[in-house]
């Protein structure tokens, strides 16, 4: 189809969709309305289960089954990326040359790393109490680890980050979430039932029954998953080289490679 014809189609379909959406928006209850029946029930249920952060209660207790699906999506996507970004038959690995890092950058990165890591863990641990939880903390912790690339170099990152171990930990924490679900069935209540543990004292770290455990499993799963994801993409961007590309572009490509890589990376992490 020509670009012009496609544009006409988009305009045709888009205007129909726009009309539908606008008509629907005008019929929606006014923004900021007070009627939220499910939301009110969820708040009551969270308080009854002594979970201070209602969102954690919805995610890991009331609708924990959704979170199981979501975790599986993440797990599947990571497995999918590992499979899709594997080294193909006509590719080989070409370790990048060590690169010099400016001293201030190194100092900044290496001093921020532990802070960011601890922040991530803190956010995970307090998921049932304050805003945050396994997802947010997991992503923060995993991204923090990659400050190593900024501060030192790729080889240093590879040493602190044995991808294989993270892949296994990813799978094990996913399994742990599911096993906690099965425990409910074995105990005679229901799948993912939050009745195994005492509910604890409201607003303390051990409150909310199984919520902190599921939260921790998710935190670990997300952190490992993000590490593996980034590792696979970094691998592709830095290390894996196709045979024909290398042969054809051998002259003078290594130097530019290392340089533009480092600059690009600094730019990205900076924002």
């Amino acid at each position: 189809m020509s670009r012009r014809a496609r544009l006409w189609l988009v305009l045709l379909g888009g205007s129909g969709l726009a009309a539908l959406l606008v008509a629907a928006c005008l019929r929606l209850p006014a923004f900021g309305g007070a009627r939220h029946p499910y939301g009110d029930r969820a708040v009551a249920a969270a308080l009854a289960r002594r979970t201070a952060n209602t969102i954690a209660s919805v995610n890991f207790d009331q609708r924990a089954f959704d979170t199981m699906g979501e975790m599986s999506i993440l797990f599947a996507a990571v497995l999918g990326c590992v499979v899709l970004l594997r080294q193909a038959r006509d590719e080989h690995r070409d370790p990048p040359r060590p690169a010099e890092v400016a001293a201030p950058v190194r100092r900044y990165a290496l001093s921020t790393l532990p802070v960011a890591l601890v922040t991530g863990l803190y956010v995970i641990a307090h998921g049932q109490l304050s805003p945050g939880g396994g997802f947010q903390g997991g992503v923060v912790a995993a991204t923090a680890l990659h400050l190593m690339y900024l501060g030192a170099d790729y080889a240093a990152l590879e040493r602190v980050r044995p991808v294989e171990a993270y892949e296994i930990a990813d799978a094990l924490s996913a399994a742990a979430y599911l096993v906690l679900g099965f425990a409910g069935v074995l105990a005679g209540t229901a799948f993912l039932a939050n009745t195994l543990l005492p509910l604890g004292t409201f607003n303390t770290l051990s409150s909310g029954g199984t919520v902190p455990l599921l939260n921790a499993a998710i935190g670990m799963e997300v952190a490992c998953a993000v590490v593996v994801l980034l590792a696979r993409f970094l691998d592709q961007a830095v290390e894996i080289v196709e045979e024909n590309v290398r042969e054809n572009g051998k002259n003078g490509d290594n130097g530019t490679n290392g340089m533009d890589g480092k600059n690009g990376e600094n730019g990205e992490n900076g924002e």
Binding site: V123, P131, Q136, V139, T143, F233, L234, N248, E268
Partner: protein, 87 residues
């Protein structure tokens, strides 16, 4: 006051989204997406959703743009070398 903040944040989201679509260069788009992620995180916080704001900040303004940049780099590195792929 809260209303004004919400309106402001909403308009900023609309502006960033438009800019993200119209910036056809993927590198610049990734930067705009990072801004969009941050603006969304602000909007969510204003809408009293700090949990979502936090995860949007981590995912939308750091992880997604980072993945896009890495992809761009891989693709550029390929096309910098002479092409002999199946054309």
């Amino acid at each position: 006051m809260a209303d004004a903040l919400i309106v402001l944040a909403l308009l900023a989201v609309a502006g960033c989204a438009t800019s993200a679509v119209l910036n056809r260069d993927p590198t610049r788009q990734a930067l705009v997406l990072a801004v969009l992620g941050t603006v969304l995180a602000v909007l969510f916080t204003v809408l009293q959703a700090p949990d979502v704001g936090l995860s949007q900040l981590a995912v939308g303004s750091a992880l997604t743009p980072l993945l896009i940049m890495l992809t761009v780099r891989k693709v550029r590195r390929r096309s910098a070398a002479p092409k002999d792929g199946p054309e």
